[in-house]
Symmetry: C3
Subunit: 327 residues, 3 copies
Amino acid sequence: MKTKFYGKHFLNTQDWKKEELETVLSLALDLKEKFALNEQTPYLLHKTLYLLFFFSSMRTRTSFEAAMDQLGGNSHDLAAESLQLSHGDTPKEVGRILSSYGHGIAIRHCDWRVGNKYINEVAVNSSVPVFNMQCDVYHPFQAMADLMTILEKKETLKDKKIVMSWAYASSYTKPISVPQSFLLLLSQFGVDVTLAYPEEFKLMPEIMEQVAENNKQVGGKLAITHNIGEAFADADVVYPKSWGPLVTTSDPEKGKQIINKYKNWICDAPKMKLAKKDCIYLHCLPADRGVEVTDEVIDGPQSAVFDQAENRLHVQKAILALTMGGK
Amino acid sequence: MKTKFYGKHFLNTQDWKKEELETVLSLALDLKEKFALNEQTPYLLHKTLYLLFFFSSMRTRTSFEAAMDQLGGNSHDLAAESLQLSHGDTPKEVGRILSSYGHGIAIRHCDWRVGNKYINEVAVNSSVPVFNMQCDVYHPFQAMADLMTILEKKETLKDKKIVMSWAYASSYTKPISVPQSFLLLLSQFGVDVTLAYPEEFKLMPEIMEQVAENNKQVGGKLAITHNIGEAFADADVVYPKSWGPLVTTSDPEKGKQIINKYKNWICDAPKMKLAKKDCIYLHCLPADRGVEVTDEVIDGPQSAVFDQAENRLHVQKAILALTMGGK
Amino acid sequence: MKTKFYGKHFLNTQDWKKEELETVLSLALDLKEKFALNEQTPYLLHKTLYLLFFFSSMRTRTSFEAAMDQLGGNSHDLAAESLQLSHGDTPKEVGRILSSYGHGIAIRHCDWRVGNKYINEVAVNSSVPVFNMQCDVYHPFQAMADLMTILEKKETLKDKKIVMSWAYASSYTKPISVPQSFLLLLSQFGVDVTLAYPEEFKLMPEIMEQVAENNKQVGGKLAITHNIGEAFADADVVYPKSWGPLVTTSDPEKGKQIINKYKNWICDAPKMKLAKKDCIYLHCLPADRGVEVTDEVIDGPQSAVFDQAENRLHVQKAILALTMGGK
């Protein structure tokens, strides 16, 4: 267990050591139990977290709000358009000024090739922790909630077949950050993962290299397939989720044409039958019902999507309490 | 006095027993006194209430925010358009996910034939209390504040002439929920009420049936008139308020034509002179000044509109504290 | 030191005595120290401050939010357009109703010839303190932060050359409230100030008369020049900031033509060289970089703009705690 977290940014899981992430998961479980007991956890009493949204959100926003409430602090939702962020304030000014007022700055900025850069610029200029609530590259809080859910449901990650798969959805803009952060985190933990996608939906090469590097060091393995049936076969965990062919093309029209070639990549009952009987279905929500996944699967007994959503709350409380909580 | 409230939804007053509503009114008075004394009432310390607005509001929003503050908790204003509620999240997901994060969900959704249905769907899927901040059918918190104000001003409801009347206003969209919830609540308390409206402005038949059923059981009486002067004669309480001819027509153009036939249904000094000298004037605000009511009346000594507005705060604190406060 | 502040509005510094403002500055320093020590200051525990924005803001909003958090209370950001403020609720109703729910009302309303009038109307109708977060005439919290920063950097105001100067910026709408409140406050403290502007940018005559009256009573002096170089010569503090030629013309097109005559009124390194070596550069932000000021100056060692921004937080906490904190 690590104990020195105060002032640490949480921009992606890769910047944190495995032991640090394990401390987070352990604390998250503890906070979840206290929540069930209605026990107070005011680790951030009267402290301030700013939530900067360049892209709106239901789960992300409401889970961060509840997290700060339960830690005894306050959060403030700053929609970029309602501030003067567009005319005048640079990331430097946002970082310098907000960190002189509050105790943490959480940012969601998903614009391709822009979001991550922006968050990093704020972080460099901030004297308090900066949190990545999702960017064009990473979604580290989601990955932590995903891992926590798998651990709760499966107890061990050893000898489990864990599948991250692309799924069909008609919208082009679905972000690539979810699979990327999932793969990175699991490779940090030395877990074997199967990644399935039609060829045009490859992930960013620098992420794949980092996953390979992690696997080399910690001992995990990544299997890649372009056949969703092969991926689902005997799986313990499936996480079928749409993302855009961003690495292949930046032309939305061309992107749409590519996507529409793969309408059969829906997660339905026949595909779930290929997996183990106790295989769980994951999705970060919102899902395109009837397109990405059938109601039967997402509302069925194998679905763990609401556990996943709830765990967002607890991993976030753990990370906020550890990094914003010191003197 | 009732004591088991934890986890109870408050979707309309009809679902609550008279004794339960009496407990609410008694607690509201107690909380109002403590507020005057600047005494702390942290019954919901560090707890979270989500406020979902499909229709914006001044009184409703600010009174719920202050209510949670004074109870030691937090509220978060979620405007439907700023979330992803339109593309992706169903009422089921809203109920499941928000109730896994927070301790209460309050919703305002006034769309005709849609709002009440939505709120009920969220409630069915929520593990924490759901509150109706106004829908197309009901406005139960307003009715509780109305009743509290009458009780404060008149001490007893016995042998009082209480009048709910339609009033002229040029906008078609004024909701029907206020008179409906008022009539329902007063019939639960066995109070005699006079209802006045031009024929095209009848209330929903299912509401009128419930009022009749309540009156049969508890002993109150409902008198209906289409003559506003007759209604105001010797009244102790008048509540003249515009609503749309929604039950008669769903065509806005036709609705407007109907409304414009009744410009003389304004609450003015001559009409107030028909009532008792100490008759009080109620309105849930905002009022269309010069159209629904003259400045002379709404700003005059008989007006109790600011008491009514303030009492929103205290009845809401009572209901939130009772339902969200347990373990 | 003064001790009776409860219930006092803070609409401009002129309404407060010098001793009262000194108490604020002294408390602000104390609260800043406690903030550095991470010591709790819950003077407004569970109290409510409403923030009414008719004009959005980054610094103002986030600093008031953090201020209330650190005082143990809550704030609620009410954007005028998201409420029903436009259709129905008068300033009277806003004052009466919000003051029956919460413990303070802060308003930002910068519309020329409208904002100050609106804030005063709310104040007259409010039973709790009303705070001017900037109007068309005044920006009193900014002026207090400006003064606090000068005192921190220069220790004494005696025999210092303090310069408020107009600066070039391409937008017409920059408010005149900042120089006006700065001049007023410094004249209340008997400080000598040099005011520099091109002739068309004179301040409101009633403000200039009040400054002259203050100077007569307390002993300060105001020097006016239309030459920026003359103003900067041997200065200890420079505060070059754009504002519109509002007193000269209300025609935006004509205003723009006037502004564009003075592109050389930029604060750059050569101008800073005219001042004393330890002269500090002030700006209330956001600055038009490359237009109002060069990056070299605003990011350089003489710039105190981030201290100024941070001090907003501490003077606001002081004023809120003093006025909202009693019984």
